[in-house]
């Protein structure tokens, strides 16, 4: 699921409700109910919820603290009292899958922003939670690095059945993996559905959602009387739809 919407609309705040950081850590006034993996969030402590929900912070520096990458990735597992052999296996797996094995002995605070984001993702991956929340997890990564991370997350979703909630503005990169998009505005959910319908809606345009360029091209061509068979989200889809139109002529 991709969660998007204007800067300051409440995306990060909503994510903090999913693992109990709100209200248990941030305080404030909370009404209504959040149920995650069958647990009512307010009835559980953060450490119980952490077994089910992993949150990758927007700013990796706020999450990393250990003296080596490996220790940071192992920290969550130590707290869950995972046996040593299993811990070793899962830490190595998480480092390998995020492509940072060669950084395992390095202090996280000395790494670049992009490397720190990989470490933060590895920390949460190692826990193998039911639900993974990633708050702009690739903002410091180059596009190829970002794509690799999205592919890893996509595989985890498909193969291990992990629910993925991805907070993103760069919809051109993220949309092709999503089957559900939610748009927030001023603290409310204003659009909720499958990507094509949401991106092509009048409301998305009015709120100023940066829909993928493939979708935008579909809309602009439509305004000029050229109809493509369906709403494209990726460049491949747009190219193959255009191919049909170009052949027809």
């Amino acid at each position: 699921m991709v969660l998007t919407g204007p800067s300051g609309c409440g995306k990060t705040t909503l994510c903090r409700c999913f693992n109990g950081l709100i209200p248990l850590f941030y305080g404030g006034k909370l009404e209504g109910e959040v149920v995650v993996a069958g647990c009512k969030v307010v009835e559980h402590s953060i450490y119980e919820l952490a077994r089910h929900v992993g949150l990758v912070f927007q700013n990796p520096e706020n999450q990393l603290f250990a003296l080596s990458v490996e220790k940071d990735v192992a920290f969550g597992l130590e707290n869950l009292a995972v046996p040593r052999d299993e811990m070793r296996k899962r830490v190595d797996w998480a480092l390998q899958i995020t492509g940072i094995e060669d950084l395992s002995e390095r202090p996280p605070h000395e790494l670049s922003g992009g490397q720190q984001q990989r470490v933060a993702i590895a920390c949460v991956l190692a826990m193998q939670p039911d639900v993974m929340i990633l708050d702009e997890p690739t903002s410091f990564l180059d596009p190829v690095g970002a794509q690799k991370i999205f592919e890893v997350i996509n595989e985890l979703n498909k193969e291990l059945g992990i629910t993925v909630i991805l907070v993103e503005h760069r919809l051109d990169l993220a949309s092709k993996y999503a089957n559900h998009v939610i748009v927030m505005d001023e603290g409310k959910v204003v659009l909720d559905g499958e990507p094509r319908g949401v991106f092509n809606s009048e409301k998305a345009r009015l709120i100023g959602v940066g829909v993928p360029k493939a979708t935008r091209l579909y809309q602009i061509l439509g305004e000029n009387g050229i109809r493509l068979g369906r709403v494209p989200v990726t460049s491949e889809e747009a190219a193959s739809l255009l191919r049909e139109v170009l052949k027809r002529d």
């Binding site: 300051g8 596009p143 190829v144 690095g145 100023g208 959602v209 091209l217 050229i226 190219a239």
Partner: protein
């Protein structure tokens, strides 16, 4: 004008981050520096305001060699907005944050007030005037950092990943503002991974890899060169990808802009029918 001559830089840890960079940036230019993580982009721009001094070679900003002056002296001329706003923000309120540098530069209180108002309004954060920057969202903090630099109106503005956390409307405002700065002969240097933002702006692009410049030229030339793009660990803009997928129809492959794409497709389709 910024002149970079055979610049090499090695960090105290021994990491050789820049290996011979030569580059000239004219007044009023809009330059985007792109390339993979660890290519040396941030290291390079930190030389433009003297935060880092060359190990070898030199950087000359408006006739002044950066190695010979302090960061404080260069700061008035060259403003730098960090990648991570948390490395930059420290005041109790947004207003104080934006006024801080102005006070340091010795502006009059009246002028400070005017400039703070202007910058807060420009970045759409006036309503947070009395709020602590640390209570704001990631995207809003980024805009406070931007405001605090733009407020003193430097001749050269360096923006390290300015679009992080920004929604589409904010990016569009940023683009328009950069165009305005350029019109006033101010230089804007952006370090970014945001290919779609660069495609919308079409600046001159410098592509870096492993401490060297791989290529430079207009965005529509660089971003549509599949070989270069792959070497620099970036992906072509979505519109380019679409046109690359249609190259067997004889369509041009150097398209980055959605409106240009529309024009080309309409010409072909309407011409045919």
């Amino acid at each position: 004008m910024i002149e970079v001559k055979d610049l090499c830089f090695t960090y105290p840890t021994g990491v050789e981050a820049l290996k011979g960079i030569t580059l000239t940036i004219d007044d009023g230019e809009f330059l985007a520096i792109m390339g993979q993580n660890g290519a040396g982009k941030t290291t390079l721009v930190k030389h433009f305001n003297g935060l880092l001094k060359p190990t070898k070679g030199e950087v000359v900003v408006d006739g002044v060699t950066t190695g010979e002056v302090s960061v404080a002296q260069l700061a008035r001329k060259v403003g730098f907005v960090f990648q991570n706003p948390d490395h930059q923000l420290f005041c109790e309120t947004v207003e104080e944050e934006v006024a801080f540098a102005l006070r340091n530069f010795g502006f009059e209180e009246n002028a400070i007030k005017k400039r703070v108002d202007w910058a807060l309004n420009l970045l759409d954060i006036t309503q947070y005037r009395q709020t602590s920057p640390f209570m704001l969202s990631g995207g809003e903090r980024k805009r406070v950092a931007l405001a605090s630099v733009l407020a003193w109106d430097p001749q050269v503005v360096i923006l390290d990943e300015p679009t992080i956390g920004q929604d589409h409307q904010q990016k569009e405002k940023l683009r328009q503002f950069i165009v305005q700065l350029n019109a006033q002969k101010k230089t804007v240097i952006v370090v970014t991974h945001d290919v779609e933002f660069v495609a919308e702006c079409n600046p001159r692009v410098v592509l870096m890899t492993e401490g060297k410049i791989l290529a430079e030229g207009p965005a529509e030339e660089i971003l549509t060169n599949q070989k270069l793009v792959a070497q620099a660990s970036i992906v072509p803009p979505q519109i380019t990808q679409i046109f690359l997928g249609l190259s067997d129809f004889g369509l041009p492959t150097n398209v980055i802009d959605v409106h240009e794409a529309r024009r080309i497709l309409l010409d072909i389709l309407e011409g045919a029918s």
